[in-house]
Amino acid sequence: MLEEPTIQRVLAAAASRGADFAEIFAEEKRSSSALLDDGRIEELTSGRDRGAGIRVVVGESTGFAHTSDLSEAGLIAAAETAASAARGSGTGTTIVDLDRVNAQRPNLVRIMPGDVPKAKKVELLLMANEMARAEGAAITQVSARYADSHRRILVANTDGTLGTDEQVKTLFSISAVASGDTGMQTGRESIGRSVGFELFDTYEVGDLARTAAQRAITKLAARPAPSGEMTVVIGPGGGGVMFHEACGHGLEADLVGKGASVFAGRIGEQVASTLVTLVDDGTMGGEWGCFAIDDEGRPAQRNVLIQDGILVDYMWDGLRARAEGRASSGNGRRQSYQHLPMVRMTNTYLLGGTSTPEQILSDTESGVYISHLGGGQVNTATGDFVFGMTEAYLIEGGQITEPLREGNLIGNGPGVLTSIDAVGNDFAMGGPGTCGKDGQGVPVGDGVPTLRVASGLTIGGTAA
């Protein structure tokens, strides 16, 4: 994207007023999507974005400017704006020797989505529509979306880092509406991976369509969710959202550093049941939150956050790590060149345990079984978090019985983590997620085995 001599001159301009650190982040992103709704292919969209963000750090202050002009003149103008914003006083004649970062690509992309004829993408949507509607006359509306993106990044900084990465993602999602005497219900399913069009060699859109349609149809007969605290069993896969909210955000070093996390100052302490070993892993090949380097040029890492219930470490970006005199953990991410990086999760998952899913269920006298979760939200300072259940059932006498309508669950992170009393041996990753923080969205993955939270979760239903 940029030649080394240009990079060096731009970094020199960024550091010209004196700087502890200066960085160029250049990005080129192509995206395409196709939407089926109301029985027909409604729209195809293509997007292209290209630009660079320049960051200059002086002491505790960061100056940042971005531009869509990648010419040397455009970059130098942005570098000067960033330098002036950082309010450095002094002069710098930094000339940096750049070392290429050798980071392992987490996977190879076999079929570049841009090389696939649009007609093939459209075909998938039409097939999904047909399959969902074939599940029953109760299905009254279907929408489906195909999307891919190809992001190339370059990061160079005055520490001598020069890294590049190419990130390809492909996604398919389907939503169905079922109508009956009780009104309308919805079902959704999606698959997204950091791979190319070969995604569809592994996943059948027909399966996704059937799952989404069945979810909607099942809920037509659902009863209102109960109200109050109950034992909750979460099925393998999407339950990772709970850990993302219950402790993931609270383990981000920027929030911890500002005293805005219930997990601040608790390294080495027992923060969860001994059954809990939680990992954040940007190297996980093909997963939605993987990459070779993060958006600060740091190679992706596998970081154990909680080991057997003991808090091992937080997640770090370059800025926070620099202040603590330690290394970044490869969690510095940003939505685009128009944003400053901050500490973000990648793929966050709970390691599998020893119980079989059948044992966990049959040991549960009464409670709620959640097989598909929606999004969630957390207040990291209090630890209170919510997450939505989009497919759930009652558990009665160790058996899954009646379907429940949608709702949120609420709990407090530390309390819920210590109440996990069973972890299954059936690990699965969940669907693709977009994590929002301070107005920036980044792709994240998560996964869990079947697990049980004995207490501490309140079901937000209406039934007494």
């Binding site: 292209r48 960061t62 219900q185 969710a225 939200q377 919510v386 949608e406 949120n408 239903g461």
Partner: protein, 458 residues
């Protein structure tokens, strides 16, 4: 037909209009083309512990191009105003169109003769405000919040932000619209701590004159929110009355307005689809979407397709009056656009409310509190995106707040959920407050008292 150009604001964006015209010049034969171009400048200053934590200075631009031919629709967008890139983007939109299925109702908005209500969205004082003073304002707010209450032990972030920009919409159907705006804001997120317990607050103000940003208001709001929940406990489950202040009442109205989109109705996704003329809410509720209200910072002249914004009565005395439409949904419903297309450069227009206004009742907030024997005054909702389904109507959100006992605010509570259905919440409105205010986000709202909501707790 008159094209919708604002008189007050014409004469400013000639270069953008000329650039858009150069794209339209390439429209071929029967092709309909619409170009949306925008550019903006923004600054964000974040301060922390008396220092500038970050200062971001940004120029951004973008374009969205919609092409329709033989009933087929194609769209492409780019983050640039480079003429070469715009040509490629037009070509992409054309190529995309080949794969979409024809729809007889596809088409661009056509000028409808509705006059633009001029708005004063621009602000020279935002543009002229020096960086040093932006920093000073943020530092001052941080200092005031820290000094306001000994229980405030830190602030996650305090910020000043501003942005100004312009956009133009030009189409082969005769639309020519220019929109310019500027605004500024301050915000702060303090942490209140007593013993091992931490609570968070949020304070905010926005406007078009930096010197008039209300630091006292932002400070008081932030400190009150952060401290009033200290000592909160999880309450027992019960059915009870809830009291929503205007800010939260409007978030509920925002979800309801989404269910009144003509597009949702056409596609069978609105539970209110067949119910125009029927009582869908308490007779106490009247709701209008009216972006022409100049008193609001959210007022707009034109919608996302360049048609004049107008006042649309949605619910009157609880009776559903009609739906919001953009040009597509209006045409397909046999109606007309209500000027309710919303979009950015990166997306096609969709139907949405732009500036919701609730009709006030009579009693003050204090009188509402004193009329409630047992209830919850809600401080915040969480999980609005994960527990509210506007198709089924299921409503379940996390919340915290203060109990109301025998007409007075009582102990703080947290870690609870509130549940009902959207349909029932509307009918269960027991009172609309007389405490109308223009919210800092733009909408005009009043407090709402809603009865018989399920509170789940311990």
């Amino acid at each position: 037909m008159t094209a919708t150009v604002s008189k007050q604001q014409s004469g400013h964006s000639e270069d953008l209009l000329a650039l858009a015209a150069s794209v339209l010049d390439q429209a071929a034969g029967e092709e309909q083309v619409e170009v949306l171009l925008s550019r903006a400048t923004s600054t964000t200053v974040k301060v922390y512990e008396g220092q500038v934590e970050s200062l971001t200075s940004a120029d951004s631009s973008g374009a969205g191009i919609r092409v329709i031919r033989d009933g087929r629709l194609g769209f492409a967008h780019c983050g640039s105003l480079d003429p070469t890139v715009l040509v490629e983007t037009l070509r992409e939109a054309r190529d995309n169109l080949e794969f979409a299925e024809p729809d007889e109702w596809n088409g661009l908005a056509v000028p409808d003769g509705v006059e633009v209500v001029a708005q004063n969205g621009w602000s020279d004082s935002v543009v002229a405000f020096p960086v040093e003073r932006k920093i000073a304002l943020a530092l001052e707010l941080e200092q005031r919040v820290l000094a306001a209450d000994s229980r405030i032990t830190g602030i996650r972030s305090t910020a000043y932000g501003d942005a100004w920009g312009e956009s133009v919409i030009l189409s082969t159907a005769g639309i020519q619209a220019v929109d310019r705006g500027a605004s500024c804001s301050i915000s702060t997120q303090p942490l209140a701590r007593v013993g091992e317990e931490t609570q968070t607050g949020f304070g905010y103000d926005s406007g078009r004159v930096p010197e008039l940003l209300d630091l006292d208001h932002a400070t008081a709001e932030a400190v009150d929110r952060a401290t009033r929940l200290l000592g909160a406990v999880k309450p027992p489950s019960a059915r009870m009355t809830i009291l929503l202040e205007p800010r939260l009442a409007i978030s509920l109205m925002g979800i309801v307005s989404g269910m009144l989109s003509g597009e949702s109705v056409l596609k069978g996704r609105s539970p209110f689809g067949e119910r125009v003329g029927e009582q869908i809410a308490s007779p106490l509720l009247s709701l209008t979407d009216d972006p022409t209200r100049s008193e609001s910072i959210g007022a707009e002249e034109v919608d996302g397709e360049g048609l004049a914004c107008r006042s649309n009565l949605l619910i009157s005395d609880g009776v559903l009056q009609g739906f919001l439409q953009d040009s597509y949904s209006g045409r397909r419903s046999g109606l007309a656009s209500t000027g309710s297309a919303v979009r950015g450069t990166r997306s096609l227009p969709g139907v949405g409310a732009q500036l919701l206004v609730m009709q006030p009742g009579t009693r003050s907030f204090e009188q509402l509190v004193s009329s409630i024997d047992l209830g919850l005054y809600v401080n915040s909702f969480s999980g609005m995106h994960s527990g509210v389904n506007s198709i089924s109507g299921d409503f379940s959100v996390g919340a915290d707040g203060l109990m109301i006992r025998k007409g007075s605010l009582a102990e703080p509570v947290r870690e609870l959920t509130l549940a009902s259905t959207l349909q029932r919440l509307l009918l269960d409105i027991a009172e609309v407050g007389g405490d109308f205010e223009w919210l800092r986000g733009g909408d005009g709202a009043c407090s709402l008292v809603i009865q018989d909501v399920s509170l789940s707790g311990a």
